[in-house]
Amino acid sequence: MGILFLNSGLYTTVQDMGRNGYQKSGFHVCGAMDRRSCLLANMLLDNSDNDAVLEFTMMGPKIRFTSNAIIAITGGNYSPTLNGNPVPMYQAVYTHKDDVLEFKFAADGNWGYVAFAGGLDVPMEMGSRSTDVKCKLGGYHGRKIENGDQIEFLANKTHLNNFSSRKLDVPNFTADVTEIRVVLGPQDDYFTRQGINTFLSTEYILTSQSDRMGYRLDGAYIEHNEKGSDIVSDGIALGSVQVPADGKPIIMLADRQTTGGYTKIATVISSDIPKLVQCKYGKKIKFKVISVQEAQALYRIELNEYDAIQNQICKSEPEKVASGNIIKRIVSIFKK
């Protein structure tokens, strides 16, 4: 019971929340580019947070179901259709044996996700099902999906309770300029005051020389001071913004190398990685500095939001929560 790829799409891989604990040996973390969309898709189906999903970009796959299933589609809008009819995103949807699910090009956003109730059955390697294409590790035989590939589900789940509660607002990624919040450093002391100002005041363009390893931006040149642009190689965190000698920022993402020798001016906060990666190539990005404390507070608010969503999905009545925004969102979800 599972799926068959009639068309693989341009770059479709199996991902989960990443492979942690092995960076010291040179293994990439990988995992979903947009972890929020990946998580929400799994939550809608009562999957575990780390169940493997499909991630796709540029042109999505065409899939035939070899058994009945339940799916949730999140992330960028790839105009999904089921047997030729539009199928809603951000909600649980029943599918049947021989149904054909098709994704085209992104009308909005960059990375699309589809989760399957029960999770995808690919081997767990070093604690994760994420695909590391460079190391040929994990996912579907360590590579991107090709035409004719078949994947089974880990569990045969064809029914879920509270089906009408499994529905969330569909976000949009249409903004022309997206504000991305960062924490400065750790090599912000390698830049002039002017360099830092340039970094924070320019609307950078996301170039198409971008992929799962990192996003390359174009725009005003960021000036280093006499310390220069090179450092003794050290670790690269998710969201690290490297600035090599050419002065243009590169944001390091899921498939990034574990170590590198370019100065890092700032790090994108965890909560803004999803909206960053969903920017289409050609869109603009503007950076804003906040403190670690503020960033961590935002992260915790996001976690509370997930808890509220979890409660909403499991119970058929709205739960009393602290934040007014969450109440508004839950109320709007129940409007039919």
């Binding site: 010291k24 460079k134 003794v232």
Partner: protein, 247 residues
């Protein structure tokens, strides 16, 4: 004069870098190894990954489980510890290398550049134990220190699009080996038949930061022999443990 090291800096909201220096040395590497061993032993709640590098340690954590300031407080006491678990021993992993003919396409160039014979280059390359400062770039790719300056050789001006897995090379002042095939600009002086990264084994990599690597020359016949042992899954790495007299 104030020494700002060691220090902890935030790297976004989910990582910190613990810096011990801004330069490379065996002494700094030892401090990093001790720090890394001690915090690994402790299993601090919230830490998801630890990457020791030349002069710093990147620690990834989950802010749901520990906040920045609390993490710094927990890490502080480890910054000044001067001894760790395996401090007294030196672990040396022996790597067999065939330097002959097509196994070392750039050996002649390295020799000519150094004004030495190819035999002398091999002799120099195999006469030292190289400290593994860190792993990165690929699984099992070792950043080694201690290459003899007589055989420092600049990288290729035009990198190769594909270097065979197991290639042993020199790039500037560094030496090392490529566990996986990859594009690269190093001068390839030999090839090892062993798999420095073998996903079928546990551990998949035979060395880690703080270990040493020693290369030793083998014939083409021996190369084939070991290659077959690896293919059958029966090859075992030779490891020497020495008392660390420098401690």
């Amino acid at each position: 004069m104030n020494n700002i090291y060691p220090r902890i800096l935030p790297v976004g909201d989910s990582a910190v870098t613990v810096e011990f220096s801004d330069s490379i040395s065996e002494e700094i590497n030892r401090k990093i190894r001790i720090f890394y061993e001690n915090i690994s032993k402790e299993n601090i709640k919230g830490i998801t990954d630890v990457v020791p590098t030349f002069r710093s340690v990147l620690i990834s954590y989950d802010p749901r489980l520990v906040l920045y300031r609390n993490l710094c407080k927990k890490l502080e006491k480890y910054l000044y510890m001067t001894s760790g678990k395996d401090d007294k021993k030196k672990r040396i992993v022996l790597i067999p290398v065939c330097y002959e003919g097509e196994y070392g396409p750039d050996l002649k160039f390295v020799a000519e550049h150094a004004g030495l014979s190819t035999e002398e280059v091999i002799e120099i390359h195999t006469s030292r134990d190289y400290l593994v400062y860190m792993l990165g770039f690929q699984p099992g790719f070792p950043y080694l220190g201690g290459l003899d300056e007589r055989i420092f050789t600049p990288r290729l001006s035009v990198p190769r699009t594909l270097i065979r897995a197991g290639s042993v090379g020199i790039g500037g002042e560094q030496t090392g080996l490529y566990p996986l095939a990859s594009p690269g600009g190093w001068q390839i002086i030999g090839t090892t038949p062993v798999k420095a990264y073998n996903p079928k084994k546990t551990p998949s990599i035979p060395y880690e930061a703080g270990d040493y690597i020693r290369f030793y020359p083998i014939s083409k016949e021996k190369f084939s022999e070991i290659e077959q042992e690896e293919a059958r899954g029966v090859y075992e790495f030779q490891v020497e443990i020495q008392d660390n007299l420098g401690v």
